[in-house]
Amino acid sequence: MAGNAERNPVKLPPWWTLDPVAEFRIGPRAFPGRIWTASGCFAYGLSGHDIASSEFDSPYTGLGAVVTKTVTPAPRSGNPMPRLCELPHGALNSIGLENVGYERFLQETLPELERRGVPTVVSLAATRPDEFGEMCEALQSTAAGYEHWHGVEINLSCPNVAEGGHDFGRNPETVARCVAVSREALPDRALLAKLTPNVTDVAELAAAAAEAGADAISVINTVIGLEVDLESGLPVLPRRYGGYSGPGILPIGLAKTDEIVQKTGLPVVGVGGIRTYQDALKYFALGAVAVQVGTAQMEDPFAAARVARDLTRA
């Protein structure tokens, strides 16, 4: 945020012609902008609502969407502490999908987001493909009339959830099944499939998702990583592995985005390692239609707003 580097004047390259805060379509839906916050790094989209700054009206200024923390069919209390570990080039997390469950989310959170006018993409995860369909149906019946609920991102890629989370995003048939049941329940909202980078061939999974009806692909979720506590010689996280995020994964997110764009031509929402407008530009250069800011949003609630502002031509 206030780093010296970041206060240098913004220099946009000539090829950059998009307006990041203008409407654009993904599938059946028009989004108010191309800079979003990533799931899990901005809670349910409400906790930053009252944070003030001398540079922005609010952390929501210019955002195209807030992707809410993934909710599951039942509430989850998540993994044991510590769940976070700072790394020199990012962070490792093992939150374990702690969430209030989609029912409470639908009753309490989504209406409040609608009331406050926060453009929202709801992130969902499940342990059986059909549960995606059930949650999407419930969403549709509660929120069909909502103006600010733009879509659903199905999270097929939680490397840190033990119970089978891995397999969802690793098998093209399962990916297709999860997408298909969601699509059926969501006639008029954007449907995004969020893929894991921890696979041999992400483009194959993207193609499967598209064929089953996804409007776009979000990549990447976190990269499986591990950190050791030198003193004890043990992994820092009780579950050993965590999800690596932040600047260190930017080259990986860019590669996965490019693989999908090049091999499938699908709309891609780029995620991974974005902190500044330059990082975001790299995704757009490869053809991403929008980007999400994750880890950077945690340290700086205005990180995404900053990217949107900096990418707007004067």
């Binding site: 906790s47 998540g78 976070l84 962070a91 880890t295």
Partner: protein, 275 residues
């Protein structure tokens, strides 16, 4: 208890170092000047971070010691690389500050005297409460490692102090032992009516504070420490296990240390899941 005191909204500040100097062998007093007026309630904290190449993925949570006008004050100990870098800042260096954050200590219930127990870097929130609300009938105790570790210039005259072990030449009035023992001894000597306990410091201190409170049937509020990512409730990285909701099948429920805390009613915490 009184209802939660009215909150100052959190803000992202650019701040300049005014001073950053040791006030004891282990504690450093950091004074920042913010780019906008700064307010807080005792028990709240801020996330501090560097600018430029030193900037970390996450800010460092530090309790607010004082704040008025553009000034914000902190007290910290060097424990790792971030606090080590912090200790090297000199006047005019720039930082970022997100705050005030979290749920503060409650205001005083008029009918109760405060019993304050602070250990080491647990001093700032307790001292901040004292500065704002303290009265003559309150009792405050602070414990350091040794005499050199006590930040004398910051400690009010009325506070009693303990150190782990007295050396030759140390002030005779220093209690030898831990803060809870000091508190027990002192409270037994002076007698106590209806009180309530506020505490911040190592986990063992918080637990001892709670036992003390339970014995007297006093309310007890403790300020907890957890590793933090965001500091504003966005990441669920800092949870503290609380007693389950009455009708819930779960043996506990998670609260965020940064937003629901760091101050909790000691009876709400499921201590055996922490220790």
């Amino acid at each position: 208890m009184n209802p939660s005191p009215s909150m100052v909204p959190a803000r992202q500040y650019r701040a300049t170092v005014l001073s950053n100097r040791p006030v004891s062998t282990g504690l450093i007093h950091l004074v920042l000047e913010c780019d906008a007026p700064f307010g807080f309630l005792p028990g709240q904290f801020a996330m501090l971070n560097f600018t430029g190449a030193q900037r970390r993925t996450f800010g460092r949570p530090l309790s607010i010691l004082a704040g008025e006008g553009l000034r914000a004050e902190f007290l910290y100990r060097v424990v790792g690389s971030g606090t080590a870098d912090l200790s090297r800042l000199v006047p005019e260096d720039e930082m970022t500050l997100l705050g005030p954050l979290g749920t503060p200590f409650p205001d005083r219930p008029e009918d109760r005297d405060a019993v304050l127990l602070a250990g080491g870097v647990g001093l700032p929130p307790v001292l901040a409460w004292w500065d704002r609300h303290g009265r003559e009938t309150d009792r405050a105790y602070f414990g350091g490692r040794d005499a050199g570790d006590l930040p004398r210039e910051l400690l009010p005259a009325a506070w009693k102090m303990s150190i782990d072990r007295r050396q030759d030449g140390d002030d005779e009035r220093l209690f030898e032992g831990r803060v809870p023992e000091l508190a027990r001894t002192d409270l037994a000597a002076t007698g106590r009516g209806k009180s309530f306990v506020l505490s911040c410091g190592p986990l063992l201190l918080l637990q001892a504070a709670r036992r003390l409170a339970t014995e007297h049937d006093w309310p007890c509020f403790v300020s907890m420490e957890e590793h933090m990512g965001c500091g504003y409730g966005a990441c669920k990285g800092c949870v503290v296990p609380l007693q389950p909701q009455p009708d819930s099948p779960d043996p506990w429920r998670n609260a965020t240390c940064c937003q629901d805390g760091p101050v909790f009613d000691a009876d709400d915490i499921v201590w055996n899941r922490i220790l």
